[in-house]
Assembly symmetry: C2
Homo-oligomer: 375 residues x 2
């Protein structure tokens, strides 16, 4: 009984912020920071990383923050063979007032827990995770650009490290977090992008895992993304079903602002039906628009036929994407069945208003409960 009690107590102490061990860089180990103008998404990493190990027998280990380093991974580790892996994307901002803020980290942690379940990785305590992430950001706070077009991208990652080739749940895993100072996701900045909507490619389907942020949803899209780029488009608009429903853009959720058949303004985005990722920016734009009460806000299926019809009848006002990396990204064109559907020029676009409101919250110009102080 004594031994059992001892094991139990070890389990309860783990993954806790209070157990966090810090092994910080010596001054000579610190890296020079890139120029803000040279920031490419996800190319530069900060000086430190957070790691928390897990194994089926002992449970969670204590969190460790140490200098950014290569991971030592057995060549038979399940992450390298069966893609037992997941990630999240969130951001920290340096406000105009100099204070650091996270944006709705609880939403990312809830999604991460849901994905962990779907990909058979263990549960973790999200409150403790947020505390550890905040501490990592504090340590590398000098990496957060003094610029309100830039931010610190936070990449929690969770991988199955068990060195065993059976297709089965893992007995060991590593949760880690790396940080990247980033500029705008698209090198074009807030410039509108062009989407390829080709029904022959399908990202996700009922009974699959399209609503989870697991690596497995991304690898198959790279090939199609390259086809889109070859044809001069920046991203793929993924369709589903014989009626070519719009789903999402892979790195963003999709929004359509249009006049409905009654001539009323309606903001439409596809519903969380298991096919699309439940984006935190998507949720936030929906909540903002519902607060504003200026137009209809609808989560419903919308087909390419409806887009084509609204386009022909000049009822299509704007199309834009929403995601953590880009925040809001206007769409200039949708290429579908060998035709380009160009979006009209709009005065004071809704996408720009969303972007400004979100930015005001991110950079502390607008006090809002979604912005969580780091220190």
């Amino acid at each position: 009984m004594a031994v059992r009690g001892c094991f139990l107590s070890i389990r309860l102490q783990t993954q806790k912020f209070s157990d966090l061990e810090e092994k910080l860089c010596s001054p000579s180990q610190l890296h020079p920071k890139p120029e803000v103008s040279s920031l490419v998404f996800g190319k530069y990493f900060t000086d430190h990383m957070l790691e928390i190990g897990w194994n089926a027998n002992k449970g969670w280990e204590k969190p460790v923050i140490s200098p950014l380093h290569d991971l030592q991974i057995h060549p038979g580790a399940k992450v390298l063979h069966y893609a037992i892996e997941l990630f999240e994307g969130m951001k920290a901002y340096r406000g105009d007032d100099g204070r650091l803020r996270l944006f709705r980290p609880d939403r990312n942690m809830i999604r991460m827990l849901n994905t962990a379940k779907r990909v058979s990785l263990p549960e973790f305590d999200m409150e403790e995770m947020i505390k550890c992430i905040k501490r990592l950001i504090q340590i590398d706070r000098d990496w957060i650009p003094h610029s309100n077009t830039s931010s610190l991208y936070i990449r929690p990652t969770f991988i199955a490290t068990d060195p065993s080739l059976g297709v089965a749940a893992t007995n060991s895993a590593l949760l880690y977090v790396v940080l990247c100072p980033v500029g705008p996701y698209f090198t074009s900045g807030f410039k509108p992008i062009s989407l390829l909507a080709d029904p022959q490619y399908v990202r996700s389907w009922p009974g699959g895992c399209g609503s989870s942020k697991m690596g497995a949803n991304y690898a198959p899209t790279i090939y199609i993304q390259k086809q889109a780029e070859k044809q001069g488009h920046q991203q793929v608009l993924w369709l589903y079903g014989d009626d070519h429903q719009l789903t999402e853009v892979g790195t963003m959720n999709i929004f359509i602002f249009m006049l409905n058949k009654k001539g009323e303004r309606e903001l439409v985005t596809p519903p969380l039906d298991g096919l699309i990722l439940p984006g935190v920016t998507r949720l936030s734009l929906l909540e903002l628009a519902r607060e504003w009460k200026e137009f209809h806000v609808t989560e419903r299926n919308i087909t390419m036929a409806e887009i084509v019809e609204a386009h022909a009848e000049n009822r299509l006002l704007e199309v834009f994407g929403a995601g953590t990396a880009c925040v809001v990204c206007p769409v200039a064109n949708i290429s579908y069945q060998n035709r380009d559907y160009k979006m009209p020029a709009v005065e004071s676009p809704l996408s720009q208003r969303f972007f400004k409101t979100m930015s005001d919250i991110h950079y502390g110009r607008l006090q809002h409960k979604w912005a969580v102080d780091i220190e």
Copy 2:
């Protein structure tokens, strides 16, 4: 011109067997070999591994065989985030005559090349790869069990190592091969297994990547596999479509041996329509059966309704899986819509005959072009 010529010549020399560098274990680095009776699939690895690096600027590096070691992987590597990874599964056998043989390695390499294209990893020379793999096996030949229920499982793996978080093709990659002495895949040996066929879970779909051997096809299946195990089944039989077509078992292709409505014997397996993996064992069984000319051999869609009907009319003779890991695996039961469909007991089952023929080829008791001498 001179510089250009020089680069070209470096590119042409790479990935070649003739450039292979060998850094072999010292005697003290060699590991003890496990007992044949304790072999669990994919748990024990041999002393050495093969690695070939690639990057977008310089192309392929020279192959290196060195002691099995952890890989040093940047935490931002694309394999850990977007599952840009693929693998193959093949086997080497120690024949009754003591000679070592590979089984149809060209088929695995062709599939690996196809998967590489789909997952946006670079092309490689399959002939050179086979030569390097043969050499690796020769070096670790003492790991191949002296047992004709065992073999050496060969796991070529290909991962994207580029440390950059953009969702895009990789600029660097590592192709490596590890070896595992293995016993029977299922701990039950050649004992029949039970399959869960639940239409609410879908493995693959048109416009997806179900016919490629990439990690992304496996991670989403683990959760469902656990559900099957909880209900007392060994594997999942994946269905597709409103008519519940049989597709595959995830680690095996599926075969149905039955009497058709005319009372004729027919061997049915689902067609290569993009939803299923083009198995090398699947192909081999089809080729054997077509040589035998004793019954109809058909690649066609078959639905659960047809299985249920044939079962009710006592026309279902056998169901079995086929794959490299298990070779041939009889199915005793399919659980579908809360009913168990038990397979009848058969005298001299076809699955057993396939298994014996394949084993005879593997272990050199039957001379056959599919068995490729290693030395």
